[in-house]
Every structure is written in C-alpha cells, then in structure tokens.
Subunit: 409 residues, 2 copies
C-alpha cells in the first residue's frame, strides 16, 4: 500500500458541487488501495474577498493579522471536503496547518517550512482515514499562525509528500498536464509524458503556470515524483521527476513565451565598479523585476546597458532611473516596447552545444530579428517583436520536432 | 489600572465599517487607562452562510467538521478588528480560541470550558496590547478545535473575565440595556440601572434575548459584574450583579412575554408511575421543548395533563403523541393555540408572598382569562389569549410601578 499526496487548487474547489467532484477523485485513489493525504487551497475567489475586506479597514495591514485572516480560507475548504468524503462513506479528517504539524519560521506572509511533525497525520492514516490538510499555512514553534507565501499549497503538498515519504505527489489543476508549448497558440502542441525538475523549473519561471517553482525545487531536493493532471478529466498527466528515469531525452522539451516585454537601454553609464550593482539594487528596492540583462562596453569609460522588463513596469522604471540619475551616472535612457520573449527549454542542451545556433538559424529563416539573447545550461531565451512571437514559437516547435498528435481542446 | 473584558456580537461587527466603529469603543476604554480584552463573534450573517455551504455538501455534517468550518467566522473578525486597532495607532493582537488558552472538553458543537490558560493573554496585556479573542471557540487538550454551542461568545467573554480576574465584563449589543419590559410594545418601559443575576436568568430564559443565560450563570458563579450596553450609543447600560450590591430592591423588576404559545391537553392518561416521565422523555427525544406543565388528577385511575409548547412545534407534538399512543396509554388529545405567556420577574417576590395574588387581581380587573400558571421563587408566569398579551403587560407594568420616563426609540 503506497501513500499518495494529492493537491487541489482554488479553481478545483470553487463551489460545494466542485468539492463533491474532488471527493470522487480522492476516493478513486483510496479505492486503488492507497493511503491518501489531500492538500487544498481556499475556494475560488475567497482569498481575494478576504483581502478586499482588509482593504476596507487599512491600506497597510499587519502581516501577522493578514495570515490570521487568510488562513481561514483553506480551513473552510478542508472542512467541506471532509464532510463530502464522510457523506460518501469514507472515513476522513480535516487538519489545519498547525494541526498537521507544519512548523514554519516566524516570518508572517512568507514563512519557510522548518520541520514537519508527521505523527498526527501518520496516526490518522493508520486508522484508515483520508487526511485533508489546509495548504499554504503553518505555525511557528510558539503557535503563531503563518502562511507560506508564494506557491503556498503546492509547497505544502510537496513538503508533506517529503515528510511522509509518499510515493508520489499529484498536483490536480485545470489543465491536463505540461505541454510542449501553449496549445491555445500552437495547434500541434502536445502533452509531455514526463519532464525533469530542472526543465519544469525553467518552464515554470517562464510562465507555464501549472505549478509553482518553489514546489518543484522542494520536490527536486527530496526526489518526490510529481504528476500534473486535470481535476476534471481522468486521463493521466505529466510526470515531473529526475532526469535519469525518463523514457526519452529530447534536446528541447518545450517552448515558453510571453508578450508585453519592454527593453530598456541605459546609454553612457560610467564605468565604475559599483555602477551595475547600484542600478539593479535601486530597481529591486523599488520592486521592479528585471529579467534579461546585457552589458556591452562601448569605450574605455562608459558602457551601454540593456535589460528587459514587463511593460507594465515601464513608467515606474523610467521614473526610478530619472530620480537616481545623479547617483547612477549615465547620459540617457532609451526603450523599445511591444516585444516578446521566446525560450526553448531542454536538459538535452547541456550535451548539444549547437542548439542555440539552430534556434537563431530557424528565427533567421523566418526573417525574425533577435533583439536580446540570454542562455542557461538548459534554456535559450530570445527577445523578438511581439507581432512575430507566435510565428517564432511555431517555427521552433516544428524545427525541434515537438509536434505530435493535435491536442483536444 | 483595571482589566475590562468587552464583548461585541455579530451585528456590531457586521461590516468593515462597523468594525472600525467597534475599534473606537475599544479605544475609549483603553484611553481611560484600562487593560482591555475584546471578544468578538462572526460578522453578521457569516455563520449562516457557512452553514448553507455545508448543507450543499451533506444533510448530516460531522460535528467536528462543522466546528472546523464555523470557527473561521470569528477568526476573520479578530483579524479585521485587530487591523482596525493597529490602523488607529493602538498596539493589538488577535488570538484564536486555542491561542487564547480556552481549553474545552472533547464534545464537538457544544463543548464546556474545562480550563483557561491565561498566560498568553496576560503576557500580551503586559506588553500594553489590546487582546482580541475569537468568541464561541476553544480547543481540547489534544488540539482539536471545538465550539461552545449555545451562548458562545457571551460565555467566552464571561469565562475570560473570570479567568483573568477582570473588574467587569461589558456585553455590547444592539439595545441600550435591559428594560422593565419590551419598549416596542409598552411606551412607558424604562431601562433598568441594575438587575440581579437570578432575575436576569429568568428574563433571559423568557426571551429578553440580550445575553445568553449560560453566560449569566457563569458570571453568577464567579461573581463577575456584567454590563449590557449599546455598541452604537455612549449612554451607560444595565449592570447585572449580585443582589446585595444593588441600590433598590423592587418587588417586580421586569415583565417578559412571548406569543405563539399552544396549550396541549392529554386527557385520560392512565395513572401509572412511569407515564409522566415517559410522555416528556418521548417529546424530548424528538427535540420538542415543553415549557409549563400542569397535572390535575380527575379520578383514581386517570389524569388530565396540560403543557405549553411553541406553536411551531404543534404538528410534530401531535404526531409524536399519536405515534406513541399505545405506549403512553391515554384517551384523547386537545389543544388551544393563539396563546401568549406573560411573566413577572423580581427577586423581591421571595419575601412578598402576595405578589402572585396581586398579578391575578390585575389580570381579573382587565377581564383577562388566565389559562395556565407556573411559579418559581422569583417569577410568576401566566398563559393568556394572544390578543390580550399587550393589555396584560401594560396593566402589570403600571400596577407594579415599573413605568418611568419614556425611552427614546
């Protein structure tokens, strides 16, 4: 008898009727003879509604009190799902984060998990119960309620799978798996049977959005196999696991893309040791995220520096640069909007040095200008005109032989 | 510096705006130099909404899971009120039932308080904080979340006042105090300055409805003075305390009444030792509450028995009696609906044996038939025609000299 951890997100538990459906998915797993621990998020828009209640009280809520407020969301879901399981005749019990032994550091709003005291869950499993745990939340040693912040419920599920030595952690979501690229844009996109942790991390960071990178990192560290699958459809999903186990080793596993990119170029930056760190520290302090960075020394004393940002941050970025012009020592700022980022991801690249070259060749054949490039061991990202994004993705998808059977939509 | 416990019910915290108003009432008390512990209920209709979510899942929810579900209501309120206090510049902290040290027995849905571990609250008060505690909830020794059932938040407030040796417990509500009778019906009703625990218990059980009898009992046991007062208006309310402290000892302190009463008469009940207990045990097992009971032996072998019920329970009561006719051995059942109960309450009655007689005299002068009578040491209840209820109350209110300045409405 194996132990399976299942995670259902907010959309999957958005109404009592959907919760009854989730109960059926849980019971299927239990009926296969497995022990089951279920992790759930708050129902649908609950978190947003709680945040807007707080906003009617204060514009700068205490983080401790926000955690006190928001953790009620998952607590509602665990009780309702447990009622649904009991109604269908299966012994079950709900546990809040603190009852489940999820011990975190004393950082409100974004706590890291310090320890998982699994004895309570283990005892309930031993009694044959399905255990339903509130995602996203924990408590400090002193009994203060905390939330895990980014990737909350995904992280709870993977951490419990690690702590309980589960065979597998299933992430149920509103898509059927991880695709070679976004099937809404590319008809020939197909679902991957498997993908490595590292590849998934690159895809997740690039906006594939089915599972939070923090949970993937956790799974990688503890070698927990994940499966991303649909909460509505029975078909199997995509397994995320260590490289070696996979049945095939494609050079390129998937193609990620996002639009609304702006390239900002700072001209005539004085060549001082501190200038690069100063400019990016200043932007970070103003909560402006910079993605690709390219530095090109133009002469002995000055540098031109380009970086990409999300277009929504353009005005703030220009203001911060202008406000700090004297501190930063530069001549001028230019920018180009309406750009997009297109990235190929695959762990096979490490041993295939020609992959980046092949990518540029494919884009050149399509007469697509490459405006910026950034590479990692398993990824090559390019910035192109927004209008050419889909054409670029389709050409790369064909060239790297990712196309398969069209996906049902 | 004294310690004051304040309790605000669901109507008082029904919206973020009302919660900001409650924060002002809390701050006024703190500004007088007192330590303050605040107990709050769930916002407005929250509990009803949570119950109806559960009803969409199951018709017979697990009590443990209902407690898990319902306790989120107060947790939302404590966080929002604490945010409001912080926003207004006052150090404050929210505590759930288990964080506040409210230890209960392991009975879900209706747990009794076993112990209050006040060290956490005491430490927070020592640091100068206003402590905001979730009413209605606690936890067992093993960390299971429970609710206190009937009179929940009132009971939490009084129990904390007892555990913390508070000087006083203020029950803020949507009325300005306890009245000699219902001012919506009797123009000359006036607010009482004070009332004894026992008198309040009789009035509360009779439907005055401003504070739960269980909380009054608790306050009596621990000799905690209560004040019932308005959360919207500044005027002082009604003090509930031990008899001896009060400034006056009226024979009758107040007049309670309720309509929708039905008298059921069971005719020809066989005189067997067990028949009375069988009949009322059978009704209780079917969750039918019986109020006044009158037995009159008519001959050696049979008895006629009358009892009063709420009219909404009439059909169920008749069905239960009919279904158990063979078990109960009786000839026939009659009933009379459209009746009302009118009661006079006052601890002065103990030493004034003529009070009941005076009541009957007043009703006779008004040509009001008395259909049932029930007495306790500090109460006389009569059942009359519903159409004569208000006339009876007004006549008694005058006769016992309860009238004072008309109350502003």
């Amino acid at each position: 008898m194996a132990l399976i951890v299942q995670k259902f997100g907010g959309t999957s538990v958005g109404s009592p009727e959907k919760i009854l459906n989730v109960a059926n998915r849980v019971i299927e797993e239990k009926a296969r003879g497995n022990d089951v621990v279920v992790v759930v998020s708050a129902m649908g828009k609950t978190t947003d509604e709680l945040v807007s209640l707080a906003e009617r009280i204060t514009s700068k809520p205490s983080k401790r009190e926000m955690d006190m407020l928001l953790t009620t969301g998952e607590q509602v879901t665990i009780s309702l799902l447990t009622m649904a399981l009991l109604e269908k005749g299966y012994p079950a019990i709900s546990l809040t984060g603190w009852q489940a032994g999820m011990e975190t550091e004393a950082i409100f709003g974004n706590a890291r998990i310090m320890d998982i005291h699994t004895n309570r869950i283990a005892n309930e499993l031993k009694e044959g119960k399905i255990v339903v745990v509130a995602g996203f939340q924990g408590a400090t040693k002193d009994g203060e309620i905390t939330t895990l912040g980014r990737g909350g419920s995904d992280t709870t599920a993977v951490a419990l799978a690690a702590g309980l030595k589960a065979e597998k952690c299933d992430i149920y979501t509103d898509v059927t798996g991880v695709y070679t690229t976004d099937p809404r844009y590319v008809k020939t996109a197909r679902k991957l049977l498997s993908i490595s942790y590292d590849e998934m991390l690159e895809l997740a960071n690039l906006g594939a959005g089915v599972i939070h990178p923090r949970a993937v990192e956790f799974a990688k560290n503890y070698q927990i196999p994940l499966e991303v699958r649909s909460s509505m459809e029975a078909e199997s999903g995509t397994i995320i696991e260590e490289e070696g186990r996979m049945e095939q080793n494609l050079v390129v596993r998937g193609i990620a893309f996002e639009d609304n990119i702006t390239r900002v170029t700072v001209l005539g930056l004085k060549n001082q040791r501190a200038s690069l760190s100063t400019i990016f520290t200043t932007l970070a302090n103003n909560h402006l995220n910079v993605d690709i960075i390219i530095q090109s020394r133009t002469d002995r004393d000055t540098t031109d520096l380009s970086f990409s940002i999300h277009s929504k941050d353009l005005n703030d970025t220009l203001k911060v640069l202008k406000d700090n012009k004297e501190l930063l020592y530069f001549d001028n700022v230019q920018y180009e909007s309406n750009l997009a980022k297109v990235s190929i991801v695959g762990s096979g690249m490490v041993s295939n040095p020609g992959v980046a070259a092949q990518m540029f060749e494919v884009l050149a054949e399509q007469n697509i200008d490459v405006k910026m490039v950034s590479t990692s061991e398993i990824k090559v990202s390019t910035v192109v005109d927004e209008g050419e994004m889909v054409k670029a993705v389709e050409a790369l998808h064909d060239a790297f032989e990712l196309a398969g059977m069209p996906v049902k939509s």
